[in-house]
């Protein structure tokens, strides 16, 4: 039995204005399949579930179609709806125990639909209920208890048993594991997988991305009532196309997530629908996102563009004004004007040599909007060169650079200043990167004066104190007059960060920003950088030799060796299961497992083959002759003839 929702919109009327809870949501679930609906709270997930059951409150209005096996059910009368409810579509509501009547024993509540529909007598119904409850793992002693005597996990089992009592064809589960411990979660997941295997269509409403990826076939991402992306479940965690999906994944704690949780900048609020006057109100009807500091009473602000725009890390002017429609890209369908996550910077085959020293072999590097990319590697591996080329501070010998979809070299030649405004740089040694003759104020205000980007009605002092507050520095006039030698290292580094941020860049290149700081100051500065990255939606290229640090902050990691990127991939994968033996060596040496990382006197290093040959434990003939190409392994790219796989990793 297939389940289809077409163009479903729901509006809640609340006094003078209305709240748009769902807008043109279209999903379809075939028998034996599971569709997961994910999104932040307030995105309309539960409203959708209730709409399917015909349980929307009386102050709501809905448009669109909901159909079961081709038969429309959204316009049915209550009595006809009652025939379908629980018999064809059953729902497991969220929050467990509150969904059970406190004054009836649980077995009676489970048996109730059977008795009330006269499908079986009281005794037989009780037997069936007992059977269903036992199948869900509710023990005999709990059968006759009242709901308040059950634990959260048991309540969830009761709700599942209750939903299954009439053997429905479609099951809607609303946050079935939200309040459960890990073991109960596994049990519930097993039950859902079993529903699928017996041919039920499952609509899984959850904010648990890992469960969605594990159980569902398709995932729809809901934001403020709009589907922003529908994608195959396998791609949810590793290959999302919409920036919102990526951001959700980054906020979700998994056992494999290496970096600290990111969150998404800003907050989602309600969408209010404004109506002007009685006649031709359709013409003037529009929605906008209610944010706390704009009360927006009469509704003249145009919300026409993308709903996620204000929180997106890659929003451009078009996003504000152009209406966005769902767009098919491969097996994804996304609602994004920029066709999904955009690349902010793309380096192709860039190389650099200083005299006869080859600092950078031809290298490709792509930075996605809003991500933190960490470059790690031993000293002299070309990290800083690559970073400076990315920042536009140095020019490459060959290859092309594209920044924000424009050719960077031409752009820089024509108007270097405007590109410098878009890229902020934090240098390796904070004390040396500020002139000792500049006070704090002068140092931070200098970029503003050079670029003359002060808007009318805004003073330089205001801008400076705002950015200093952002980096949690004092805005006291006395502090502004201080000179670098009067400050500690942490404060100097914050001044450098403030200076890099004052022009509101979209890309921040940070070259070992914390290596000269002691650990406690380093922790604070890093936390600050990450907070700012979320708050401002920055993309960050972070260079460090400290792998532990890269693990804490990077979304992706690139490992450099002798002027080449030898491994690129999601931070958790690169660090937990390195594919390149060099990466492995780096990690092992951090762990103190390596005694002698250098093998001196080996001339093989200059050979035509792989630069890792002198130190490679798994050397083969081909390695010395042919340099390896980048190959894709799982979600990573590795430059190795014999990349380690997970199996081999455990062997060695």
């Amino acid at each position: 039995m297939s389940f289809e929702i077409k163009q479903l919109s729901v509006i809640y009327k609340d006094g003078s204005h209305s709240i748009q809870a769902l807008e043109e949501v279209t999903i379809a679930i075939a028998p034996g399949k599971c569709l997961a609906l994910v999104g932040e709270s307030g995105s309309g997930k539960t409203t959708l579930g209730k709409a399917c059951m015909g349980l929307l409150p009386s102050n709501s209005a809905k448009e669109g179609e909901i159909s079961v096996n081709g038969r429309r059910i959204d316009n049915l009368k209550e009595s006809a709806l009652n025939e379908i409810r629980w018999d064809k579509i059953a729902m497991v509501f969220q929050n467990g125990a509150v969904n059970l009547n406190p004054v009836h024993r649980i077995i009676d509540q489970v048996a109730e639909p059977l008795i009330q529909r006269r499908l079986s007598g009281r005794v037989e119904a009780n037997l069936k209920a007992k059977e269903a409850l036992k199948q869900m793992g509710v023990t005999e002693e709990h059968l006759y208890r009242y709901p308040h005597k059950l634990s959260g996990g048991q309540t969830q089992r009761v709700l599942l048993a209750m939903a299954m009592i009439l053997d429905p064809e479609i099951i809607i589960l609303d946050e079935p594991t939200a309040s459960l411990d890990a073991l109960s979660k596994v049990f519930v997941s097993g039950v859902i997988a079993q529903f699928k295997s017996v041919g039920k269509a499952v609509l899984l409403i959850t904010h648990d991305l890992e469960m969605a990826a594990g159980l569902a076939d398709t995932v729809s991402v809901l934001y403020l009532g709009q589907v922003l992306e529908t994608l195959p479940a396998n791609d949810l965690l590793f290959k999302p196309l919409h920036p919102y999906t990526l951001a959700l994944g980054r906020s979700y704690p998994t056992m494999t997530t290496a970096r600290d949780l990111g969150g998404i900048k800003g907050d989602a609020f309600y969408r209010l629908v404004h109506q002007h006057g009685r006649h031709d109100q359709d013409k003037y009807k529009h929605t906008h996102i209610q944010i706390p500091d704009s009360s927006h009473k009469d509704g003249h602000a145009p919300p026409a563009g993308c709903l996620f725009q204000s929180r997106c890390t890659q929003a451009i002017d078009r996003c504000k004004n152009e209406k966005v429609f769902l767009n098919e890209i491969g097996d994804h369908s996304i609602r994004c004007l920029r066709n999904g996550i955009a690349d902010i910077l793309e380096l192709k085959c860039v190389s650099k040599r200083y005299g006869d020293v080859i600092a950078l072999q031809p290298t490709d590097l792509t930075l996605k909007c809003g991500e933190v990319f960490c470059l790690v590697g031993e000293t002299g591996s070309g990290k800083t060169t690559l970073a400076m080329i990315s920042a536009g501070m140095r020019n490459q010998d060959s290859g092309t650079r594209t920044f924000e979809a424009r050719d960077m070299d031409q752009w820089a030649k024509r108007e270097y200043r405007s590109i410098a405004r878009r890229i902020g740089v934090i240098y390796q040694n904070p004390a040396e990167s500020i002139s000792p003759r500049f006070s704090v104020f002068e140092a931070v205000a200098e970029p503003l004066k050079i670029h003359k980007t002060i808007r009318t009605g805004e003073s330089i002092e205001n801008r400076v104190s705002r950015v200093l507050a952002q980096v949690r520095l004092s805005t006291d006039p006395l502090f502004l007059k201080r000179y670098p030698h009067e400050l500690n290292m942490g404060a100097i580094q914050r001044v450098c960060i403030a200076r890099a941020l004052i022009l509101k860049p979209s890309l921040l290149v940070a070259d070992e920003p914390t290596s000269s700081l002691d650990p406690s100051v380093q922790a604070k500065v890093l936390k600050l950088l990450l907070d700012l990255q979320i708050e401002l939606g920055l993309t960050m290229l972070f260079i460090t030799h400290n792998i532990g640090l890269a693990r804490k902050i990077g979304d992706r990691i690139g490992v450099m060796l002798a002027g080449r990127l030898v491994e690129v991939g999601p931070a958790n994968m690169v660090l937990s299961a390195p594919r390149h033996p060099y990466t492995r060596l780096l990690i092992d040496s951090v762990r103190g497992l390596v005694k002698n990382p250098f093998k001196p006197g080996s001339e093989l290093a200059k050979s035509a083959g792989c630069p890792f040959v002198p130190r490679c434990p798994r050397l083969k003939d081909i390695c010395c002759k042919t340099p390896p190409e980048m190959v894709n392994v799982d979600h990573c790219q590795v430059r190795c003839h014999f990349p380690l796989t997970i199996d081999r990793l455990y062997e060695s």
Partner: protein
Amino acid sequence: MNANSIHFTPRRLGLIITFSLAALAMIYLSYSLPRLLPGDFVTAMYASSPVTLSAEQEAELRAFYTQPPDFYNYLVKLVKFDWGYSYAFLTPVSALFLEALPWTLLLLGTAHIISISIGFIAGVEASWRQDSRIEKGFVGGMTLLEGIPEISTGVILLVIFALNLQWFPAAGAETAYAKVSFWAWVADVCHHLALPLATLVLAYIPGNFLLARNSMIMVIKAPFITTARAKGLPSRRIRYAHAARNALLPLVTRFGLRLAFMITGVLVVERIHSYPGLGTLLFNAIQARDLPVIQAVVLISSLMVLAIILALELVYRIIDPRIEYER
């Protein structure tokens, strides 16, 4: 369920001790408070009569009709169920009491059963149709009715149905000295009951209705009602088995307290309709300063409050399984 079997746990023992102490305090108050009434039986008896008493006679009478201040004796008599003789009626207090009690029970019991049933059902149905015109009309009407005291409803009913239309008798509980068959007697009792009953029912319905509606409105919003709807249950089943069942608790409390204050509750109505119940008995006894009767009525009505509160504690647990003594 072992929760229903009787165990003398510390908590229950504590409950019993508390109630016993409260009962003792009430016995003392029933003994001491009526004595504080100004005036006494002798003054009340002869104040309005043409008989003049000499000082000697008066002192003699007073000595006869005054209880010696002896609480211990009072208590002993009480334990023996000896409530003494009424000064005014010259019959045992217990006989007076037993004569009046059935009438009050009949009047009050029927009034409560009818008003609770009607008020509850109306409340449930109105709350289910929240914000409809019917519901708004009901709430408005009931609030208005709640504002009219029973003394005026009683008088109005009396004037219309007993004096003008003469459909119902104006006083009494049965036709005196009529020797009739049992069923004719029942009809006669019902006929006499009609007006006081109607007065009480009209007075009690609005409270029950508003209470039922309010607690229903709270319950209807609960998620388990949504679950019940999702299960495709018939609407009546959801209203009564799921919603109303949970809205019952405040109503039972109200019923209990009303019952507890039954004598003062029916006093006004019994007086207006001259109905020979406990209210009338108390009223007459107070007028005549008939100390033994006053003491007995006060004592029994206060003990009744205790008994009903205790009974409520037990009934609550049946209505709402979440209420349970810790073990």
